[in-house]
Symmetry: C2
Subunit: 414 residues, 2 copies
């Protein structure tokens, strides 16, 4: 065969992806049936199946001898082999690591979590994660013979660009560098790292209804405040991987100084740490989310006022973001939404005001539905979606290049 051209290089991943989708939908098929279903030439189809067989994504399950009417050599039938590939999602939180493992049929075949201290370094956290993964895999009889990919969520902001400007204590960016390599060496599969809140946003968009949500804003109120965006059905990273940092949008002009250096960031009034500290500064003795829950249950007026301010700030920031992005759903995550559900109500009021000029733009606002596993689940979803994203990327770039030329032509004659 001749060497693939530029065009073929772009098209190949899209064909592969559709072939896998057809097999996932219909089960085992012969090469001839696949070629017809996909409209591909026998030659092209055969190249694609050879590559997928070599990489263990497909297996030959039987022949069509038993159902075949005519004579001649029976045709092999190909299928996705669920056991032939695995996908690993790992979420490093501030105080625990969570993992999930999915197979080629997109079923979750193992999951688990392990706690550590928030002062433990990355060496300890990695050791915890490796032990957890190997224990859970062994317990479920999983051999990582065909691990296709690993997605690792870390506290944000996370980007592949070195962030020299970041203050110590905001995220765990620099220390978490290199963990993709550590995972790759340990398990022999490609690894990607991203912000765990972004992965959680994807999981919330995929997991909530009969249809995947196309436009969603997710904010998580935890030790810090992070966010993630799904826009037009895609998880958004931004130009340097920094999209979604809702915790560092100014919410209270001239407010308290944030660990990031600015004044009045959302995080200074709406993180769990900030809410507890403000309550204490106003005389309410709260040391934990459990204390907060109890204070909310008995209607503590100071605590209610602090939660009102926090919720209003969350609603203002979400309101600006929603006026900008017009999402159908806005999700507030973090355990505090269970401990103090009234916070979500206060946020809703403030969000409703911000969008009052176009009531039709008011999204559904709700607390997160997924458990602690959201980050790891979103990671797996990213791995499963990766080939489509790449195919899309190729197509989009090609189409846009020609339009850009047009606009440049226009400008030169105008």
């Amino acid at each position: 065969m001749s060497k693939p051209t530029g065009v073929q290089t772009l098209i190949r991943p899209a064909h592969e992806d559709r072939l896998l989708a057809v097999l996932r939908e219909r089960g085992a098929m012969s090469r001839a049936d696949l070629a017809q279903a996909l409209g591909l030439s026998r030659t092209t189809l055969s190249e694609i199946t050879s590559s997928l067989l070599a990489r263990g994504a497909l297996s030959i399950v039987d022949t069509d001898a038993s159902v075949r009417a005519g004579s001649g050599r029976p045709a092999e039938r190909l299928a996705l082999d669920p056991a032939s590939s695995q996908y690993l999602g790992v979420d490093f939180g501030h105080r625990r690591v969570q993992i999930v493992i999915a197979d080629a049929a997109h079923e979750i075949i193992a999951s688990g979590s392990h706690h550590y201290s928030d002062i433990d370094g990355w060496d300890t956290r990695l050791a915890c994660a490796f032990e957890l993964i190997e224990r859970e895999a062994a317990g479920s009889g999983i051999h990582f013979g065909a691990l296709q990919g690993i997605a690792i969520g870390v506290p944000g902001p996370y980007t592949t660009v070195p962030l020299v400007s970041l203050r110590e204590g905001w995220g765990n960016h620099e220390p978490s560098r290199g963990i993709d390599k550590a995972f790759k060496e340990r398990f022999g599969a490609p690894a990607i790292v991203d912000n765990n809140t972004r992965f959680a946003a994807l999981a919330e968009a995929l997991g909530t209804a009969s249809e995947a949500v196309q436009d969603l804003i997710y904010v998580r109120l935890s030790d810090g405040v992070g966010g993630g965006l799904v826009i037009g059905g895609r998880l958004i990273g931004g130009s340097a991987g920094l999209a979604g940092e809702l915790g560092h949008v100014t919410a209270v002009p001239e407010g308290d100084r944030c660990r990031c250096g600015k004044l009045g960031c959302l995080e200074t009034v709406a993180s769990v740490t900030a809410i507890l500290a403000i309550c204490r500064a106003r005389g309410a003795r709260l040391d934990s989310l459990e204390d907060l829950r109890a204070a909310v249950d008995r209607g503590h007026p100071t605590v209610d006022a602090v939660l009102h301010e926090a919720g209003a700030a969350v609603g203002r920031v979400l309101g600006s973001a929603a006026m900008t992005l017009n999402p159908s759903i806005v999700v507030i995550g973090g355990e505090i939404t269970q401990a103090a559900p009234v916070l979500v109500e206060y946020a809703r009021r403030s969000l409703r005001y911000e969008l009052s000029s176009v009531a039709e733009a008011m999204p559904v606002l709700r607390a997160a539905e997924l458990t602690d596993m959201a980050g790891a689940l979103g990671g797996v979803a990213t791995l499963l979606n990766r080939s489509s994203l790449l195919a899309d990327y190729g197509t989009a770039v090609h189409a846009k290049a020609s339009i850009r030329t047009t606009i440049q032509t226009i400008r030169s004659i105008s």
Copy 2:
């Protein structure tokens, strides 16, 4: 042939789009060469070319008889026929309509504009537009025999959802309903309508550099304030077509009442109308952008203070949006950026503060590069890109459906 299956229905537009892209890149080709380049079966290729020939998107230009080595019947060669299709972009501003016409080779073959009064109704505006289009087309020898599509930009907010909550005077939404039908009936081609600021954002993203900008926020300061977003290489509409309404993000808490009903929207301090009115209220006699330009040139202190407040508000709103979206470029449009370039500088300072905690996230901030034609150009770009967008849509939906199933499985076992 058997009826196309669901899978084939999804795949067909993607094949068509790639075929057109290959012909645009390489020029005339035989069906056999096309089938090989695209990896398609002869049957599939032939179905696609028949459909495109019938729709006038392709034409048969010659045969390969002159370059053919062997014997046998010469093969026909197919090509895009520039004259075989046209695309029309129309932008209705508050005081003028602008049009551009492109051909199948993505070249602009005609353009023009016509002024009307901002109190003229849609009947008058439509009549102006029709007359302009027919005059320009006739002047360039264009016959709309194969007009493939019309994109019509109107002042925002614009959505296909009826906006019962909109105050009179904000945008021209309700009155502009039905103009797509009027265009369709007049020119016999499918028409789409969208916010003209959104189209302008797309044009700015496509037209500014050697590479199309993938992540861009555009805000236009004019009689009102509107915006548009390009995220991940795609123009963003939001769940109800309302994305990008930056003019109605709260910029000054407890500020003046906006025509939309809220207090302190960006538009109340940064539209041209607002800036002139605030200057007058503070004793500076300004009635027009020309007056403003003169006052800026002689360093009028009151005017400078008003522009500082306006620029700071623009920077704050853009800062929140940029912390959320991490764009590489932020563009401020509108004639005021020429009349008062210092406004862009003031916005830059305020934007830089908002992003100071992650200096790497600071986008390039600049005044718009395109002329008055941006809206119409962006409309044409949308038409040219449409088939890719649809192909992308099909792929993405298919891939996501299977991931969603996974996440639902996970939730049921967790």
